[in-house]
Amino acid sequence: MRGATHARWAACAVAVALAATACGGGGSSSGSGAGGAVLSSSWGDPQNPLEPANTNEVQGGKVLDMVFRGLKRYDPKTGAAKDMLAEKIDSSDAQNFTITVKSGWKFSNGEAVTAKSFVDAWNYGASLKNNQKNAYFFGYIEGYDKTHPDTGTQTADTLSGLKVTGPQTFTVKLSQKFSTFPDTLGYAAYDPLPQAFFTDHAGWIKKPVGNGPYTIESYTKGSKMSLRKWDAYPGSDKAQNGGVDLKVYTDNNTAYTDLIAGNLDLVDDVPAAQLKNVKSDLQGRYLNTPAGIIQTLAFPYYDSDWNKSGSEKVRKGLSMAINRKQVTETIFQKTRTPATDWTSPVLGTKGGFQDGLCGSGCDYNPTEAKKLVQEGGGLPGGQVKITYNADTGSSKEWVDAVCNSINNALGNDKACVGNPVGTFADFRNQIGQHKMTGPFRAGWQMDYPLIQNFLQPLYYTNASSNDGKWSNKDFDNYVDQANAESDTGKAIGLFQSAEKVVRDNMAAIPLWYQNGSAGWSDRLSSVALNPFSVPVYNEIKVG
C-alpha cells in the first residue's frame, strides 16, 4: 500500500512538472486495504525522544496517544478518567493502592501486557540515570528519593513502593496520602512498556512499539511518521480509519495553505492570522473547543516590591484594568475565553471548575482598578513590565493589548510595557534564575483533567511550576487536606477553598482559557479534539 501511495505522489510530481495539472488530495481513495483510507495530519518535531516518561509536549504526546493505552484514559468528550487497562484500583487509605491489570492485552509485537510491564516502565521513568523529564510524576511513590535524589547519585534503581504481586496485579505505596492518584494514571508517563524497550533501546526509539490502536509503520525523524491501524488491537476504541500520516510543518501557515489546496487532511493549529478566513475557506469544517489550557500573569514573589502588604491590591487593580473580553475578541477572534477562575472549563463543574469564582477581581472596571492600585501604594517603580517569550504564538500582540488596556484604565501611557525575551529557553532560564522584576507570561496546560493539577504544581510552596515562588500556609493546608480526603466530592471542595486563597491574594492574574482549534478537508468526518487539544485520531472517519 505504501509503495502504491509513493508511486502516486511521484506520478503527481511528474504530472505537475510536465503538464502543470492540479494534483490535490482530490483523488481520495488511496489505500484501499482493510480498515479504510489513510489521512494526513500536521505535526511538529517532538523536542525529546519519544519515550513516555520523557515526552512533555503536545507533539510527542499526540503520537503516544495513538500508540499507547494506559491504566486509565481520559474520555475525549468529558475528560473523566475511565478504566482502560485497569481492571480495578483499590485502596482503603488513599495511600496504598492495589492495581489489577486486565488480561488479554498485548503490545503490537505480541508480548502480553502484564503488571511487570507497568512496574518496569515506572521504575525506568523514576530512575535518575535515564534522564526522564517526567520523572517527577513518580515523586509520590515511596522510594522516589532513593532513585531520584535532588543531589548526588541514586542509591536504588527501583522504587520501593512498587511491588508485583501476581501476573496481573501490583501494589503501589505512596509516600503521602493522595486520594486522586488513580485519576492521574491516564497521563502518558504511566504507560506500560514492552521488554524490547529495555533490551534494544536504540531500536525501540527509532520505531516505538506500544499497545495502542495504531502501530508505527515508518518514522523519519524531523519530517514524517506513518502510523497504521493495528488490526489485532484488543481495545474497544479501535481506529476508524486505515492510518494517519503525520507531516512535520515548520510553520502552521504552510500547513493551513496545504489544507486549503487539498494537500493535507487535518490541521490542529489554525494560525491566528487565518481565523477570520476560516469560515469561508473551510465551510464549517472547523472546530474551536475549550482545551485544558489557562493563561495567567504570574508575579515574582522573591522581589520585595511585589511581596509587601498592599501589593495584593495592586495585583487586583491590574487584573481589573485588563479588558479580557476585548482582547479575546479582537486579538484571538474568540479562540480564547475570558477567565473567571484559575482552572479550566474542561473540568466541568463536577470536576471543580467554578465559573465566576474570581468575582469582581476579573471584571473590567477601570475606575476601581485605578483606586486599588493607588491604595496599594502604586505600581512598583512606577511601571510594570510584562515579560514574555516572543518566539511562539501571538504573545506580542496580546501583551501589547493588555498593556494598552492597563494604560488606558490607569490613565498613564507609561504604566505598562511589554518586555520580550528572544527564545522560550532563555525565557525559562531567566525565570529559573529569579530575574523577573514584574509580571510574566505563565501558561499552564494540564497534564490530567483534575483541579489538583491546576493548583498544586503552580501555587503550592516550592512546587515544580511555582515560578513566582508564591507561598501561603492556608493554601498549602487546604491542598494537603484535599489530597488526604478519600471522598472525591469533598476533596474538590477543599481544592476550591484553596483556590479562593489564590483569589483573595490574587497570586496570579487569570487572563483567559485557551481553545483548541482544528480544520479539516471534506474527506474527513467525526473530527473532535480531546481536552488536551489533540485530535481524537482513532475516531476520525475518512471518505
Binding site: A13, S223, G422, A425, S465
Partner: protein, 307 residues
C-alpha cells in the same frame, strides 16, 4: 598555482577557528539551553544537572569549545537534544538544501546571464528598460512576499503545484522554491552582466574580433561574454554560501526540511551542537566557494596568474 592553493587552504584554518569560536560564544551567551526543555516548569534539579553533564554544559565555555573542536576533527559533531546525532541531521538536511541551491544557481546562471547579455547588447531599447524595471521590482520585494504570493497563486488558486514540498524534496518539487530563492540574486546577476557587457562592448579586443570577420555569435560568447563574466562569477560564487545559509525564509514558507529548518529549530531550542555544527559546515562552504571563484578567474582571463 599549486602553491597558491596550499597557501589559501592554510589561510582557511584561522578563519575557520575564528568563525566557529564566534558562533560558539554567541550561542552560549543566549544562556542555559536545558531550561527550555521542560515546558512551562522548572526542570527538576537532579535531571537538569544530569543532562548538563551529558551535554558537557557543566564545564567552562573554553573547555566546552576545546572538547567540541577536538570532537569535530574526529568527525563527531555532537548530539541534538532530541537524541539525534548532528551528523545524521546534516545527512538529511544538506542534500535537500544542496538540491535547492543547485536549482537556484541554475536559474541565476541561465535566466540571469541570458537577460544580462540581451539587455547589455540592446542598451536603451524597450527590452532593456522593461527588464531593468522588472529587476528593480524583484529586488525591492522581500523574498517572503514573493514566496507566499507564488505559493498562493500557483499552489492554491491555480493548483499547478503542491504548496509545500514533501520530505523527499525532489528536483521537480523544488522548481518554484528555487526560483523564489534565486529571485533577488537573479536580478543582481542580470544587472551585473548587463553593465559588464555594455562596458566591454566597446573595448579593443571586441573591435578586433569584429574586424577579423568572426561570426557575431562567436564574438559575443567567446570574446565579450567570457571577459565580462568575472564580476558575475564572483557574485555567484559568494552567493552559493549565502543561498545555502539564507534559505531559512524560503524553506519555512515551502516547508522544506533543509539546513534553514534545522538552523531555525536549533536556534529556537538553543541547541548549541546543531547550530555550531551547521554553521561550521556553512563556513567551510563559503571558504571553498571563494577559493573556487578565485581559481576560476584564471580560467576566464589568462592574464590572471597565481604564483
Amino acid at each position: 598555482m599549486g602553491r597558491y592553493v596550499v597557501r589559501r587552504l592554510l589561510q582557511m584554518i584561522p578563519v575557520f577557528i575564528g568563525a566557529t569560536l564566534l558562533i560558539f560564544l554567541m550561542v552560549n551567551v543566549m544562556g542555559d539551553p536545558i531550561a527550555g526543555l521542560c515546558g512551562e516548569r522548572q526542570c527538576d534539579p537532579a535531571t537538569a544537572a544530569q543532562l548538563k553533564k551529558e551535554f558537557g554544559l557543566d564545564k567552562s565555555v573554553w573547555q566546552q569549545y576545546l572538547t567540541y573542536m577536538g570532537n569535530v576533527f574526529t568527525g563527531d559533531f555532537g548530539t541534538a537534544f532530541n537524541g539525534q546525532k548532528v551528523t545524521d541531521l546534516m545527512a538529511t538536511a544538506f542534500p535537500v538544501t544542496i538540491r535547492l541551491t543547485i536549482v537556484a544557481i541554475f536559474f541565476e546562471i541561465v535566466i540571469g546571464i541570458t537577460l544580462g547579455v540581451v539587455t547589455g547588447l540592446r542598451r536603451g531599447r524597450p527590452v532593456d528598460t522593461s527588464v531593468l524595471l522588472l529587476t528593480l521590482v524583484v529586488i525591492s520585494v522581500p523574498t517572503f512576499v514573493t514566496g507566499l504570493l507564488l505559493q498562493l497563486l500557483l499552489g492554491v488558486e491555480w493548483g499547478w503545484i503542491k504548496p509545500s514540498v514533501s520530505s523527499d524534496a525532489t528536483f521537480s518539487e523544488l522548481i518554484v522554491p528555487g526560483l523564489v530563492l534565486a529571485s533577488v540574486s537573479l536580478a543582481y546577476v542580470t544587472r551585473l552582466t548587463r553593465t559588464s557587457i555594455a562596458e566591454n562592448r566597446r573595448s579593443d579586443y571586441v573591435r578586433t574580433a569584429v574586424a577579423k570577420g568572426l561570426p557575431r555569435r562567436r564574438v559575443i560568447i567567446r570574446h565579450l561574454l567570457r571577459n565580462s563574466l568575472i564580476p558575475v562569477v564572483t557574485f555567484i560564487g559568494t552567493d552559493i554560501g549565502a543561498l545555502m545559509g539564507g534559505a531559512i525564509v524560503t524553506e519555512r514558507i515551502f516547508n522544506i526540511h533543509g539546513v534553514g529548518y534545522q538552523l531555525y529549530q536549533g536556534i529556537l531550542r538553543q541547541n548549541t551542537q546543531t547550530v555550531v555544527g551547521f554553521v561550521t559546515v556553512l563556513v567551510l562552504v563559503f571558504l571553498v566557494a571563494n577559493l573556487l571563484v578565485d581559481l576560476l578567474y584564471a580560467v576566464l582571463d589568462p592574464r590572471i596568474r597565481y604564483a
